[in-house]
């Protein structure tokens, strides 16, 4: 690839620019009242038309969009040998584009939404996402790749007063219920700016975070889908309905999906609304895949559930119960059950919440909120390559407030806001319903987003093949050598402190997040005594966001994690010791609001990870991220 390639591929852009620029200049030079003046040219009148159509009072067509390029510069003094792009790399997107075109970068560089009114009650929107990615291996300077991708999503909204209909092949986010179509919770530090950050400026973002509760569900509790979606609100009898037919990105591995392998989801939700926002719903999820087009291996998942919420005064109860029927060549035909129940009390003195949940090991719906620990059901169908199965969490040390299958558990959350201080404390104790085997897993809480870029989407990476990278997180799995046949107990506790203080006319924020987790073979082990168990993790993170100007925030970050396993786990061949990791991350950044809806964001992070036992598991280096975001 060289100049001729660039010219050949992008020469058309040059031709258009060559036509536009002199045309524009020529038009500008004419006298204002001349028929050839800019105001009277097609371009000038088109500008007027654009302003008119963007005026809400005269809107027939509209154009919205976000321009969001990234520059990520990574320099690792030492790291994993399989790191994509090498230890030093430059990338123009949150996730480097692998050589395989079947894996995408997720974050559009330019997202456009073009919409209009077909009739008074009928509007449409078309979303275009332009993904531009350019990676280089600065060490070798040979791995250049660039790719332009588009996403097309067609949305039609028909306002008969009740119907909202969408059909698209881009990505349509949808949500039905926690046990059917939703999404997993991933905690994102404020320091990391995530894709699809929807806040228009940093002040709103930090303020929104301060207002949120400790049991924050995933901001993105919707699953990406393709197909047909119909939602009807305000139906007679205070009913609401949703119907979906299509696919999610978890139906099949992308190359199989594009090849036409049959795999589709049919889902519906019917809700009855009552007073005080009380609600009862019925959900049905049917995912029928053919794992092998020829031999007819049926990979079937059906989940039916009922859910409801009830509010009275300070008491709020939510819950859902369902049954899952599953079938595939490896698992056979199974039926299992799952449920969760949450009670929140809005006490003036001490608001608290309690959640209990229970879910069989064969209660599997990869799109729901529960972490799946059952390897017999995987992303892409049972015969897909497990290297890219991002949705297997074997005996996972999940955060408090979240759920997993093959578990029963209880959560307790206490949260209190005292003026400018918000305190949330949460704890979950859970246990497996049946012994899952000799693999356990836990997330790397510090540097998770940066780590996930080392080998995106792939499992079994790193020097010992233990690291699995998913979207915005990195998970580590390792083996047990004793008591693997015993039921495992998990415990997770967090303390989330947020303090807001004024600086000038705005608020600044100081946050601290601490968590402790453990996995063992009894509640006592997990909660109080590590050494008889398997694993203990400790994580501490502090973030500071200072408003120094109405347009500028300075941000700072510090995070540490300690992960230590017991002698009952796999031991290092180097020194015979179990896993003993420390990780740290320090960073600073600037949020510069250049104009309304335009921001420039800089982050620099120093990161390090060491395992005293497994000595090859080590990386150290820095990462800089520059992001420009323009919303229009």
């Amino acid at each position: 690839m060289g100049k001729s390639f660039v010219v050949g591929r992008y020469g058309w852009i040059l031709v258009l620019l060559l036509a536009v620029v002199p045309a524009y200049v020529l038009a500008q030079k004419q006298a204002p009242d001349s028929v050839f003046s800019y105001r009277n040219t097609t371009q000038g009148l088109a500008q007027k038309w654009l302003k008119k159509i963007q005026d809400p009072t005269q809107r027939n067509f509209w154009v919205n969009g976000i321009f969001n390029p990234y520059l990520i510069n990574r320099n690792l003094a030492s790291g994993y040998a399989d790191t994509y792009g090498g230890l030093s790399s430059l990338s123009f997107a949150p996730y480097p584009n692998l050589l395989s075109p079947t894996v995408n970068t997720l974050q559009p560089t330019l997202a456009l939404s073009f919409g209009g009114l077909i009739t008074e009650n009928l509007s449409f929107a078309v979303d275009y996402g332009f993904f531009y990615n350019y990676d280089s291996d600065k060490t070798h300077r040979v791995d250049f790749s660039s790719q332009n991708n588009l996403v097309a999503n067609l949305i039609l909204t028909k306002s008969w007063g009740i119907f909202d209909f969408r059909a698209g092949a881009g990505v349509m986010p949808i949500h039905f219920s926690s046990l059917t179509l939703s999404n997993k919770y991933i905690r994102d530090p404020l320091f990391d700016r995530v894709p699809w950050e929807y806040h228009s400026n940093s002040a709103n973002r930090y303020s929104s975070n301060f207002q949120s509760t400790g049991f924050s569900p995933s901001l993105f509790n919707k699953t990406g889908s393709q197909g047909f979606y119909l939602q009807a609100t305000d139906l007679p009898g205070k009913l609401e309905a949703k119907v979906f037919y299509g696919r999610t990105q978890l139906n099949l591995f992308p190359s199989e999906a594009l090849a036409g392998t049959p795999s589709a989801i049919a889902a519906f939700r019917l809700v009855k609304n009552g007073s005080n926002e009380n609600q009862m719903g019925i959900n049905f999820y049917h995912n029928s895949s053919w794992a092998d087009r020829v031999k007819s291996f049926h990979d079937l998942r059906i989940v039916s559930s009922i859910d409801g919420k009830w509010n009275k005064g300070q008491h709020h109860v939510k819950g859902e119960a369902g049954v899952a029927r599953l079938e595939n060549p490896k698992a056979g035909k199974t039926t299992d059950y799952g449920a969760w129940l949450k009670y929140n009390h809005d006490s003036q003195v001490l608001p608290f919440g309690i959640q209990v949940f229970g879910m069989g090991k064969n209660f599997v719906c990869l799109e729901n909120e529960a972490y799946n620990s059952n390897p017999l059901y995987q992303q892409g169908g049972i015969l897909s390559d497990s290297t890219y199965n991002n949705f297997l969490f074997p005996a996972y040390l999940n955060p408090a407030g979240t759920m997993a299958n093959n578990r029963i558990g209880i959560d307790l959350l206490v949260e209190k806001k005292i003026r400018n201080l918000s305190v949330a404390v949460g704890h979950q104790t859970s246990r497996e319903l049946s012994a899952s085997g000799n693999v356990i897993s836990f997330p790397h809480m510090v540097n998770g987003y940066s780590r996930s870029r080392f080998t995106p989407w792939q499992q079994y990476t790193g020097p010992y093949g233990r690291i699995g990278n998913r979207f915005r997180m990195s998970l580590e799995r390792f083996f047990l050598t004793q008591d693997a046949d015993k039921i495992k107990y998990m415990s997770a506790t967090f303390v989330d402190l947020k303090y807001r203080f004024p600086t000038g006319r705005r608020f600044s924020y100081l946050t601290s997040y601490s968590s402790v987790g453990s996995i063992g073979t009894s509640p006592l082990q997990t909660n109080f005594n590590l050494e008889s168990g398997f694993l203990r993790t400790i994580f501490q993170e502090a973030e500071l966001m200072i408003s120094v100007h109405k347009s500028v925030y300075l941000v700072g970050y510090a995070g540490w994690e300690w992960n230590k396993a017991s002698q009952k786990t796999q031991l290092s061949s180097e020194n015979g010791n179990p896993l003993n990791q420390t990780g740290s991350g320090y960073g600073f950044g600037i949020d510069f609001e250049i104009a309304e809806y335009t921001g420039l964001y800089f982050r620099h992070r120093w990161m390090e990870h060491t395992d005293k036992s497994f000595v090859l598991d080590h990386f150290k280096g820095q990462e800089s991220v520059v992001e420009l975001k323009i919303s229009f």
Binding site: G8, R9, G11, W12, V15, L16, L18, A19, V20, A23, Y24, F36, S37, T41, T42, A46, F61, P101, T102, N104, T105, P108, G116, I118, T119, L122, F124, V126, G129, F131, Q147, N149, L150, V151, A152, N153, L156, K158, F165, A167, G168, A169, G170, V171, Q226, F228, Y245, G246, R247, Q249, P254, S255, L258, A259, G260, T261, P262, S263, V294, S296
Partner: protein, 604 residues
């Protein structure tokens, strides 16, 4: 897997787009800038079973495809003198997320306008049509569909192949039968008969002394739409038409002459040069209750194959003639008769290229026999498979499927035919039907020269359609339409190499508005093809080299049922199922194909 990418614009389109952009930016006092568009999301899943998969462990049994696309047409009209059309498309394949499988495409670009008072021009992607023997996209009789459940599928393909409008440039969702421009007799057999080409045309209209007379001329120079490279040899077609017409008190005549020249490079060095000339006349006499229409055309073709081998440069000349007379009473009952003769060596690529290619690979379940054998086409493929429509004109005699196109596989310009036709149409009201319409055609033809023997084949074709609005009879609140059709074709020959092949096909379809905006559609098509025939194996010069006898006993059934929700006049959601059963004596040609299909379309 092929990497998704933005399609690179071809150089001419890039230059044209740049010129257009210049014009848009600098042209003062524009008259009108409009945006139109179409959005469509399609999802289909299908299963294949039957003897065609016997012993097959690798060919697909179940597949699924879908896409979402958005076409945006920008129309710019400058003072009613220049009309610019730019159609751009974004298309996303269902299956890849976040951009994988997505593409952007400049679908069509057109500049048309009035150079002077008498001259109009068109540049870019244009439609070209002359006469059925010189330049015309042939009627697709084998897949003549009447039921809405089938028509919607076929209309998607017609939209994709730009056969949705001739004089008009709108993105029509439904094809509306349009009358012959030279006749007030509604021709319910008419389909859009133009070829979408790439190039330019000039049209002249020279006013004469009398307002009711006109002299018109058309000149065009085009290449095939599938042509992407203009370096080196590429196929081009030039031609034109000169016509004179006069109409006095609704009586009139129209003289015309057509000429077209094809130059087509061959893959093996060389090229084919073909020239077709014709002349003819139409006349009409209109009385209070009687309307008489006549048409005559005659012409010749000259085809020369030029190769690097000096002794192998065959060339052929031949002729054709065609005449038709039709009589209409109160525009309700019409009868017609015609005679046609096309020489055995008559070659006219612009008229003889098939609309649907018989040996095209279907877009779903392409292969059977352990992925070694192309699956034979069925009726569902012919209304739902994008790969079957022809994108380029062909100088070679294409493979045809006798069960779908037996008598005139290459349109009325099929060589080596002579015979006469009869037709009649009945409407229950003048100019349109209120309750019922019936139309029938019969063709009795014979070969001019025997192929391989001195005996000649006799061809018979009979085709009838009936449309009735049942809601008029049963006084239902909602619309209710019933369509029926029947087709019979036969080919017979006695003597040393007898041939006896018959095709019986019938179809019925109904569309009923069960509640407001919601239609129930049911359709069925059934075909039986039986007998023995002989394929002509054609060499690279369209010469018959050998013969391959075959025997066929095929029964095919296609059932379709669905619901269509008319959200607005321009927007609908359709959910349907199709069941295609083919039972054939040919090897690996018996299969069952079931398909679930959803289509959401809106226009603006």
């Amino acid at each position: 897997m092929k990497a998704p990418s933005i399609h690179i614009l071809s150089l001419p389109k890039t230059i044209l787009a740049g010129v257009l952009l210049w014009l848009v930016c600098t042209t003062p006092s524009f008259s009108q800038l409009r945006f139109h568009g179409l959005g469509r999301t399609v999802w289909q899943s299908q299963t294949l079973s039957g003897n065609a998969l016997q012993g097959d462990s690798t060919s697909d049994r179940k597949t699924m495809q879908g896409y979402a696309l958005f076409d945006l047409r920008t129309e710019y009209r400058f003072k009613d003198k220049i009309n610019l059309l730019v159609d751009s498309r974004v298309k996303n394949i269902i299956g890849g997320f976040g951009g994988v499988g997505a593409s952007v495409q400049l679908r069509q670009v057109l500049v048309e306008g009035r150079a002077t008072r008498f001259v109009t021009y068109s540049l870019g992607d244009i439609d070209v049509e002359l006469s059925p023997f010189t330049f015309s996209n042939p009627v697709d009789t084998g897949a003549q569909v009447l039921g809405s459940v089938f028509a919607i599928r076929r209309n998607v393909l017609r939209y994709e192949n730009f056969t949705t409008g001739n004089a008009r440039r709108t993105m029509e969702r439904q094809f509306h039968y349009q009358g012959n421009q030279s006749s007030t007799i509604h021709d319910y057999w008419a389909q859009v008969n133009s070829w979408r080409m790439r190039g330019g045309k000039l049209q002249f209209r020279i006013p004469l002394y009398m307002d009711d007379q006109s002299l018109k001329a058309l000149l065009f120079g085009v290449t095939d739409r599938a042509t992407h490279s203009f370096s080196g040899d590429f196929p081009y077609r030039i031609g034109g038409r000169l016509s004179y017409s006069a109409d006095v008190n609704q009586h009139g005549f129209h003289f015309f002459g057509n000429g077209v020249r094809f130059v087509t490079p061959l893959t093996s060095n060389g090229k084919n040069e073909n020239r077709v000339m014709s002349g003819g006349t139409n006349f009409w006499l209109s009385f209070p209750k009687i309307y008489l229409f006549g048409n005559m055309e005659a012409g010749s073709s000259h085809s020369q194959w030029k190769t690097d081998e000096p002794l192998i440069n065959p060339n052929r000349d031949d002729y054709f003639l065609h005449s038709k007379l039709a009589l209409s009473w109160k525009n309700r009952i019409s009868v017609g008769a015609g005679y046609s003769e096309v020489g055995p060596y008559f070659e006219s690529p612009g008229a003889q290229t098939m609309r649907l290619t018989g040996n095209a690979v279907p877009s779903f379940f392409s292969f059977v026999g352990n992925n070694q054998l192309v699956r034979n086409q069925g009726m569902l493929d012919r209304i739902g498979s994008e790969t079957i429509y022809n994108q380029s004109l062909s100088v070679f005699r294409q493979v045809f499927l006798p069960q779908y196109e037996l008598v005139f596989p290459y349109s009325v310009a099929t060589p080596n035919r002579k015979g006469f036709s009869l037709s009649s149409t009945f409407l229950d009201q003048e100019y349109q039907f209120d309750k019922i319409m019936v139309s029938a055609k019969a063709d009795f033809y014979q070969e001019i020269l025997g192929t391989g023997v001195t005996d000649r084949r006799d061809f018979t074709r009979f085709h009838a359609i009936g449309i009735t609005k049942l809601n008029r009879f049963f006084h239902t609140r909602g619309a209710w339409k019933l369509n029926v059709g029947y087709r019979f074709e036969s080919s017979e020959r006695g003597g040393d190499l007898p041939v006896d092949f018959k095709v019986n096909s019938w179809e019925a379809g109904t569309t009923m508005e069960i509640v407001r905006m919601l239609d129930l559609m049911i359709g069925i098509k059934r075909l039986n093809a039986k007998g023995n025939e002989i394929y002509n194996n054609i060499n690279r010069f369209n010469e018959i080299e050998s013969y391959r006898p075959f025997t066929m006993n095929q029964t095919e059934t296609l059932i379709g049922t669905g619901l269509q929700l008319h959200i607005t006049g321009e927007c609908f959601l359709m959910v349907s199922g199709y069941f295609n059963r083919v039972k054939s004596s040919e090897r690996l040609s018996t299969w069952n194909l079931n398909q679930f299909y959803t289509n959401f379309t809106y226009e603006f």
